[in-house]
Symmetry: C2
Subunit: 284 residues, 2 copies
């Protein structure tokens, strides 16, 4: 059990970390900080929140583990800000969707006095804010932990155990491998859903009223927060573009098969996708 | 109430029509026919199935309304097959996902003795077969009804009322307008989900184990039946390709914005898609 757990900028993910930690008794005291004064006021009434700090520095003083739950473009900034306030040996992690830059700059901001270990739980949603948080959010979800070669192994172990205790299935990979993976399984699908949504909005927005479950599901994530996603796409720019270009090659190939009425090839493509999709494990 | 309702080739949709009609008391007698003898045997034990006919012709004899629930490439063939067996004034509809050719050839196959009125309930799923059918499947779902100018208005009215009674929200459009709409809101999303699935299968199928709810939802329909979809894509070939090419223009535009790091434009595109997606009415 942690004596002090600090959560900076709790939203959907940070709030869920706090709720799960409280429910599972993983921390004696949970301290949070949020940028906006009205959020701090609202947080003070939450049962998973023992202390609301006025500054990030205050929040992390004495914390054994700090979770930076801010959008990806604010994480390194916060790591630098709290560095002088951390206890020696404190461990800092995050929940950002991109890991290369954050892992390297986070490490540089804290080493050698404290430890930065990047994390990314695959448990987002098109909804944001701790109002949508839940203690079970990480249950049976993948959580990537992305140490650098120079990261302290004991700190990595602590972070891995923390996510494991929250119910997640932890996968340890390098930050760069992480960024390639999520470019494909998260950032590309987000771009496709958004472009499809934008295309249909322009073509005829009224048609959405006729949609069946297929369109509803394929575009659910198009309702995600554009500010959060702009920052993710910006930070994973190169990997995303690589994945997007390769996807477009595949889409062109499908288009050619359709144009040539090569129904054997079209069917083969549909078959491969079906086999792949049926290989998903059951939903958490 | 119908004296005799015939359902040919009941699968997910046809089975749901029969179950709903039984539950709501819309037909005194429900007669079904299925191509495979083992299906006919299994259907004989279903409470929503009073008679299992040995041939399509037997099934429709004396029916006031016939629902052809076969895949789109078999509908016209079945309409032609049953034509000589239909009672004068009988009304035939279908549940196919493409309507231009089916509406025209279906009409030609039956007129003037009986009436063909095309239908398309937007209530499919990646699952197939009447084992997955349910009486509530059409509740608050759009059902397109696609008469030709020459279709008998009373027959159209009967079909509209039938779907309305099953809980659907009926939208009457021309067959060609229907095909343009579904190319965009159903067939294009299917192609994108399948191409994304095929792309990720090829890149690294193991990555799917890390996926969050986003990838799960955006690719759910990639598990759909390739044989059914091949026939749909074939019949709606021209409209689908038009929609696919326009979508690719949008995708290229997004790619350019990303390549140019034009984050204002990227964010504007994400915003437009979010507004569009939030305009969906609540799920049925």
């Amino acid at each position: 059990m942690l004596e002090n757990l600090a959560i900076l900028a709790p939203g959907l993910l940070g709030g869920s970390v706090a709720q799960a930690a409280r429910q599972l008794g993983l921390a004696r005291r949970i301290v949070v900080w949020s940028r906006r004064p009205e959020s701090r006021l609202a947080l003070a009434g939450q049962p998973w929140c023992d202390v609301v700090a006025g500054t990030p520095g205050e929040a992390v003083a004495g914390a054994g583990l700090v979770v930076i739950a801010a959008p990806v473009d604010k994480i390194v900034e916060l790591a630098r800000l709290i560095a002088p306030h951390l206890a020696a040996g404190a461990i800092v992690t995050d929940v950002g969707s991109v890991k290369g830059e954050i892992s390297r700059l986070g490490h540089a901001a804290l080493a050698p006095r404290a430890h930065f270990v990047g994390s990314h739980p695959m448990a987002g949603s098109e909804k944001t804010g701790w109002e949508h948080a839940s203690a079970g959010l990480f249950s049976r979800r993948t959580c990537f932990v992305t140490p650098l070669p120079e990261t302290d192994p004991a700190a990595v172990e602590t972070v891995v155990k923390f996510w494991h205790n929250l119910g997640a299935e932890v996968v340890t990979v390098t930050p760069d491998a992480h960024d390639e993976i999520v470019a494909h399984i998260s950032h590309l699908p987000q771009v496709l859903a958004s472009v499809l949504g934008g295309f249909l909005a322009q073509k005829n927005p009224g048609w959405r009223n006729f949609a069946g479950g297929g369109l509803r599901d394929t575009t659910r994530i198009a309702a995600s927060d554009p500010r959060i996603w702009r920052a993710i796409l910006e930070q994973n720019h190169d990997e995303l573009l690589r994945a997007l270009r390769r996807f477009q090659d595949e889409l062109h190939a499908m288009q050619s098969s359709l144009e040539n009425r090569d129904w054997l090839e079209v069917t083969a493509r549909l078959e491969r996708a079906k086999v792949w999709r049926e290989g998903f494990r059951p939903a958490p």
